[in-house]
């Protein structure tokens, strides 16, 4: 990913494990990637690949019994024009400094707006809480700003909505309220964890358009976590593909879709039905989808070597099932974790 923008967050060999009675789940096991200022980074992968845990590690809100046990998350913080670099993994989750960063400088929008908004507080109450905590405004000024934010995210009648409860709003409106809350303190990084997965397709189109507009206006970086390759293609500049807690491929979005190198990325792209494909063939031709054989391995018993080798069509016997592949750069800004790609 070669661009000249300043680094915002560097995730280096992040390891977040969950210590359970049944064993240790290596939810994130060696994630490496960078986020630049103003960039849109897509993180794609199937459920359980560690994409949400990576996001929570950045915010230092990994739920127990999970713990970040290794690696670094370097956050290049701008304080009064001077860049300070701090390692988020070394900070206490409850410390004042972490709290200043969380919600103000790095904000998050969650998947299910109904469960992430409080049912017993009004929308305005929840937005002004964040504003008052982080910006130290008084009640009236905070309310003013909250109404402004609701207006910015396209909430109809923000003067009235601010006093409503989450259950009075539709799914799309709740997600707008969440976005308003996340953006109220002008974060430099917005983490959006499947923000449109629970929404209908026409509502999704509204929210995606809104997020693009807001990024143009406010210039924050967005880390976009989703399993939907359509959203990745439409929204992001650079993409990180994760499988079983590891980043397996990293490149700009065009390369990921037009020149993917990792067999998992290739298989993922082939396995989705694409809108318009059948219509373009006039209904004729191949009926079956190319699917990935087998299933995601048991997180308690990861296969030896490359975690994808039991499902991989390009598996090299004696190598992929023995040696754990390292990330290699196949082209400038294009990194792949695969032995078959390394040999080629």
């Amino acid at each position: 990913m070669n661009n000249n923008r300043e680094l915002l967050v560097e995730v280096k060999n992040l390891q977040t494990y969950f210590f359970l009675d049944e064993g240790t789940v290596h939810a994130v096991d060696g994630a490496d990637f960078d986020i630049h200022r103003g960039e849109t980074l897509g993180v794609v992968g199937e459920s359980g690949c560690g994409k949400s845990v990576t996001a929570r590690s950045i915010l230092n809100i990994v739920p127990k019994p999970g713990k970040t046990v290794g690696g670094e998350i370097l956050y290049h913080r701008k304080v009064k024009g001077v860049v300070q670099t701090i390692d988020l993994t070394k900070m206490e989750p409850q410390s004042d400094e972490m709290r200043q960063i969380r919600g103000a400088e790095i904000a998050m929008v969650f998947q299910e707006p109904m469960t992430s908004l409080s049912p017993v507080h009004t929308i305005g109450n929840q937005i002004t809480e964040a504003i008052r905590l982080h910006q130290g405004l008084d009640r009236a000024a905070a309310r003013e700003l909250a109404i402004e934010m609701l207006d910015l995210v396209g909430m109809p009648l923000p003067n009235r909505t601010i006093d409503e409860y989450a259950h009075q709003l539709s799914g799309g409106m709740r997600q707008r309220a969440m976005i308003a809350m996340a953006l109220s303190c002008h974060p430099s990084l917005l983490i959006a964890d499947e923000p449109t997965t629970a929404l209908d397709v026409t509502t999704e189109a509204q929210i995606l358009k809104l997020m693009r507009q807001l990024q143009d206006e406010l210039g924050m970086a967005i880390m976009y976590i989703t399993h939907n390759l359509g959203v990745i293609a439409q929204m992001t500049e650079n993409v990180v593909v994760m499988y079983m807690g590891k980043v397996v491929e990293e490149a700009d979005v065009d390369t990921i879709f037009y020149n993917p190198q990792h067999p998992y990325t290739q298989a993922l792209l082939q396995s989705i039905p694409r809108l318009g494909q059948k219509t373009a063939r006039r209904g004729a031709g191949q009926r079956r989808l190319t699917s990935i054989r087998g299933m995601v391995p048991d997180p308690y018993a990861l296969p030896k070597g490359c975690p994808f080798h039991p499902r991989c069509s390009q598996m090299i016997a004696g190598q992929c099932d023995q040696i754990e592949p390292q990330m290699i750069e196949v082209a400038p800004g294009h990194k792949v974790r695969c032995l078959a790609c390394a040999g080629a």
């Binding site: 209908d200 026409t202 979005v253 065009d254 809108l275 059948k278 989808l289 699917s291």
Partner: protein, 355 residues
């Protein structure tokens, strides 16, 4: 509707006979208020006059957004809900052509052998206290088809058909992944060799790679057993892939129905056009500007006047506000309910087609 159609179509391939025909189907759920003494204060018109048909061995995709009544329609066909009004004609293998709402308890049990359902969430639709043998074998046992050793053989065969190992028969659902659970649900639905399977969002809860496996399985089984599917889904890419014909619902009404290629290439209803344009395309070189609909889906308890879609429709004229459009066959096999369907040139998935 269907009979008339048979004569008008001059399609090249011979059409299969109609298996299921739904006419003006309605389901109004009462809204009750009050405690102890309740009274009905209104109705949610979940399904409000839906008509369509499905031919033998074809897949009809039923699409729409949440709350449009697509799931309710699927359940009405199986009579999991009692319809408020309307007819559901099903060509039963044993009983012949029957109207589902008129069936008595005994006939209903017979009919349901030939009509089955696959549910969305494989985590909540399987009883965690039953083994695979009990889950898949239950329909066989209840209908007196098989028991004892024969039951085990039949269940083993069904598990093999859906790609599970027969040795798993004594295990419980918790031991299986989402994709495998969905296969268990499929095996159970197929146990009685049904004619029609209502698939209610069968792949929505699955991961991308598992989704492809499940869709392939459903297609293989359709070929192998000559199944007919009503495929309810909100995912237009999946529906395009699997369906022969597609019906689009909006707030309890059918707004458009056509063969898949016709509907995706040249939609005739503005809502279909908006739906198709809203799907994020998995191609970074095709960054399209979707048609963003204003506002939210109408409330089915208090729908707008005239065409239910008019408050969000960019093509709406005065007539749309007052007069409700009826579903009409504008082209052979292509049904639409829009006043302006003839004059509008709408955009499909391949871009605008100039006719």
């Amino acid at each position: 509707m269907a009979e008339a159609l048979e004569n008008t179509t001059s399609a090249t391939e011979a059409k299969n006979p109609v298996l299921l025909e739904v006419k003006d189907l309605k389901k109004h759920f009462p809204i009750q208020k009050g405690f102890l003494v309740t009274k009905v204060v209104g109705h949610v018109k979940a399904v409000d006059g839906v008509s369509f048909f499905i031919r033998e061995q074809e897949t009809l995709g039923l699409v729409g957004e949440s709350g449009c009544g697509k799931t309710t329609t699927g359940r009405l066909i199986l009579r999991a809900y009692e319809p408020t009004a309307g007819e559901i004609w099903f060509n039963d293998r044993k009983m012949g052509r029957v109207n589902v709402p008129d069936l008595d308890k005994h006939q209903l049990k017979l009919m349901r052998q030939n009509m089955q359902m696959i549910f969305q969430d494989p985590y909540s639709s399987l009883n965690p206290r039953m083994t695979l043998l009990q889950i898949v074998g239950e329909p066989l046992l209840v209908n007196g088809v098989a028991k004892g050793g024969e039951l085990q053989d039949r269940v083993a065969e069904l598990l093999r058909v859906v790609g599970l190992r027969p040795e798993y028969m004594t295990r419980y659902p918790h031991a299986f992944s989402g994709g495998q659970r969905q296969r268990i649900g499929v095996a159970r639905a197929l146990a009685l060799n049904p004619q029609l399977v209502v698939c209610d969002e069968p792949v929505s809860a699955l991961d991308v790679s598992i989704q492809a496996q499940t869709l392939n399985l459903l297609q293989d089984l359709q070929e192998q057993f000559g199944l007919t599917y009503l495929f309810v889904s909100h995912d237009l890419s999946v529906v395009e892939h699997i369906s022969n014909r597609v019906a689009v619902m909006y707030v309890g009404k059918l707004v458009e129905a056509a063969t898949t290629v016709a509907l995706f290439q040249r939609p005739l209803h503005p809502y279909t056009e908006a739906l198709l344009s809203a799907v994020p395309k998995p191609d970074p070189r095709l960054r399209t500007e979707p048609i963003v609909l204003q506002g939210d889906v109408a409330d089915p308890a208090n729908p707008p006047s005239g065409c239910y879609f008019h408050p969000r429709c960019q093509y709406a004229i005065d007539r749309c506000k007052t007069e409700e459009p009826v579903l009409r066959e504008l082209e052979p096999e292509h049904f639409v309910s829009c006043h302006r369907a003839e004059e509008l040139q709408l955009m499909g998935v391949l871009g605008r087609v100039t006719a």
